[in-house]
């Protein structure tokens, strides 16, 4: 009897320690990644990187100014397209009763959420690049907005649902119309979570390269507007990393550092906005 107990107790100790080890391992990978980026990227972050255009192969001193601006442009337009759609769709799912339609939309939104970004890129290509006979920033933005919409929809719906029903009933009892209730009472009440969802969604799409590969392509100059191919950070990182030039590798690290800094800042500030931890949304 005693032997069995000793065995069970040692199994207990070993397994529990192992789970702790796994956790430490996983968290340390994060710090390893950040450390690596910092170490390699910081050295290459200089004034040139932020202000100069990319130079041709072998020439030193180029930068990624156009990629930084290009990314802001493309992500900005994607946000303009995707945030309102996701937001209002989320309102519909939460506030207006329509069981079958709503579950269909929810299901489809979740599916779109898990869609490989390259497939979304194919959609944007077939709809916009082929028909407009050219690569453009707007095609890239469309692809990114398709990825943004499901994220924002689900987040909006989730946080609106958490707003207590009493708030709605109170407003309605005072004679407010339904849409006024939503606009002035419910949405503000859930605004923290909704904003979090938007920030996280934008952070997610700003790092995507695959959907931009054959939509907004790339550009060695400042893009000539939204109908022209435009440089973006993730695409530049991809091409620079694959090359053989050390100078370009350095730039890839630096750009990676900039990108990860933006993504991390967005994620951390989103959590602060929410002021309580939320899990990775189920989707």
């Amino acid at each position: 009897m005693n032997k069995r107990l000793v065995w069970r107790k040692s199994v207990n100790a070993v397994m529990l320690t192992l789970t702790g080890v796994f956790t430490v391992l996983t968290v340390s990978v994060l710090f390893l990644i950040l450390g690596c980026l910092l170490y390699n990227g910081a050295a290459a972050l200089n004034w040139n990187f932020f202000t100069k255009l990319p130079l041709s192969a072998g020439e030193l001193g180029g930068g990624m100014a156009n990629a930084i601006v290009g990314s802001l442009e493309i992500v900005g337009m994607a946000a303009l397209m995707g945030l309102p759609v996701g937001f209002i769709a989320g309102i519909y799912l939460s506030e207006f009763e329509d069981k079958r339609f709503a579950s269909a939309v929810r299901f489809v939104a979740d599916l779109l959420n898990g869609m490989p970004s390259i497939v979304v890129g194919l959609l944007a290509w077939s709809l916009l690049v082929v028909s407009m006979k050219g690569f453009s920033a707007i095609a890239g933005s469309f692809a990114l907005s398709v990825m943004l919409i499901p994220i924002v929809t689900r987040q909006t719906e989730q946080f609106l649902r958490e707003v207590p029903q009493s708030l709605r009933e109170g407003a309605l009892a005072l004679g407010a119309s339904k849409w006024k209730t939503i606009a002035t009472v419910v949405v503000p009440a859930g605004s923290k979570g909704i904003l979090t969802g938007m920030i996280l969604g934008i952070a997610r799409i700003s790092g995507e390269a695959a959907p931009l590969l054959f939509t907004s392509l790339n550009n060695q100059f400042w893009g000539g507007g939204v109908m022209q191919p435009t440089a973006s950070l993730p695409v530049m990182i991809y091409y620079r990393a694959l090359s053989a030039y050390d100078d370009w590798h350095q730039q890839a690290w630096a750009a990676g550092l900039v990108l990860i800094a933006l993504v991390l800042v967005a994620n951390i500030s989103a959590r602060f906005v929410l002021a309580r931890g939320i899990s990775v949304p189920r989707g």
Partner: protein, 336 residues
């Protein structure tokens, strides 16, 4: 916060749109990409209103995008086949721009002298029949060099490549086995090896992988301080690629250039000719719907055929023979 975001957005859009008046987009070969990017950059500095954006996606992409009319011009190291030309929605001209060389670049730790490759060894390595660096055939050509007993890692292109076409065109000419088993094209079914994207990707892989061998345009090997070997030409001499040996390979073709400029100069005769040389072409539509674009491209090609050629040698390419330039200027006049 929202107001300043809008202001920033407006500024960016205004800035981005006002930056250039005339945008021309092209895509294609990675083979001449270094000099193209330099040329387009210089041309933009000299003519700030014109920005010719060139993306080096590979010759296959150049032809595909021109066929889909998603770019204004293409670029390829493989002259378009009759079949490809028939699929184009417009009539297009081939404009040779420079001469270049495809070199066997390798990364063998411990080997510092340049290696010599014969047609047998090159085709054997890429067919997969020669698998180790200290194979007797390689040792025979490289007496005095200590080759390690290591597996050869072959690197080829994963994308549709004119450079691949030049390489496989050469291999098909010197190896009947290669010709029947694999053939020559921008994309082939490789018997062995890893795939890298673009000349850049192949160079990157070879540089990072010990005991590897790949094929790249000369400038990619030279710029990255990578070793590249000399190749035995049709006359039996081991020739290293440089401006002179590449120019010599083109002398025959220069005299008998066909009207559409589609020609292959691999395995050219001549004692000092580098056997894996090639022209590379810009694929330019004969008519432009947007007259400004046509003017911009015509202006560029004119500049390229005169001033641009002067920069070729410094970047490890060879300038076009004078006879070819004269013929091209005639073709240039046909673009509307």
């Amino acid at each position: 916060m929202k107001k300043s975001l809008w202001a920033l957005a407006a500024m960016l859009f205004a800035g981005a749109s006002a930056a250039t008046a005339q945008n021309v987009n092209g895509a294609g070969a990675t083979f001449p990409a270094p000099i193209y990017q330099k040329w387009f950059g210089e041309y933009h500095t000299a003519h700030p209103a014109i920005a010719i954006n060139y993306q080096s996606l590979g010759s296959g992409a150049g032809i595909a995008q021109l066929t889909a009319a998603t770019v204004d011009f293409g670029a390829s190291d493989m002259p378009m086949t009759d079949d490809q030309i028939s699929k184009l929605p417009m009539k297009a001209f081939h404009f040779p721009t420079v001469l270049g060389a495809v070199v066997p670049t390798y990364n063998v730790p411990g080997v510092t002298q340049p290696l010599k490759f014969s047609p047998e060894t090159l085709s054997g390595i890429f067919l997969g029949s020669i698998t180790k660096w200290n194979d007797p055939k390689l040792m025979k050509d490289n007496a005095g060099v200590k080759l390690p007993n290591a597996d050869i890692v072959v690197v080829h292109r994963s994308d549709g490549s004119g450079t691949t076409f030049v390489w496989t065109d050469y291999l098909s000419k010197i190896s009947p086995a290669w010709k029947s088993k694999v053939g020559a094209n921008t994309s082939v079914s490789w018997p062995v090896g890893l795939g890298g994207k673009g000349n850049e990707g192949v160079a990157g892989l070879v540089k990072q992988t010990p005991n590897s061998i790949g094929y790249v345009e000369l400038i990619y090997a030279a710029n990255n301080k990578m070793s590249y070997g000399s190749v035995k030409n049709a006359a039996g001499t081991f020739v290293a690629a440089d401006t002179a040996s590449v120019s010599e390979a083109a002398t025959g073709a220069a005299k008998s250039m066909p009207a559409d400029f589609r020609v292959s100069i691999t395995n050219a005769p001549g004692k000092g000719a580098y056997p894996i040389s090639s022209f590379t072409w810009l694929l330019v539509p004969s008519k432009f719907a947007d007259a400004n674009k046509g003017k911009a491209i015509k202006g560029f090609i004119q500049w390229m055929l005169a001033d641009g050629q002067k920069e070729a040698a410094a970047m490890y390419y060879a300038p076009l023979p004078k006879e070819v330039v004269a013929l091209e200027l005639k073709q240039l006049a046909l673009i509307q």
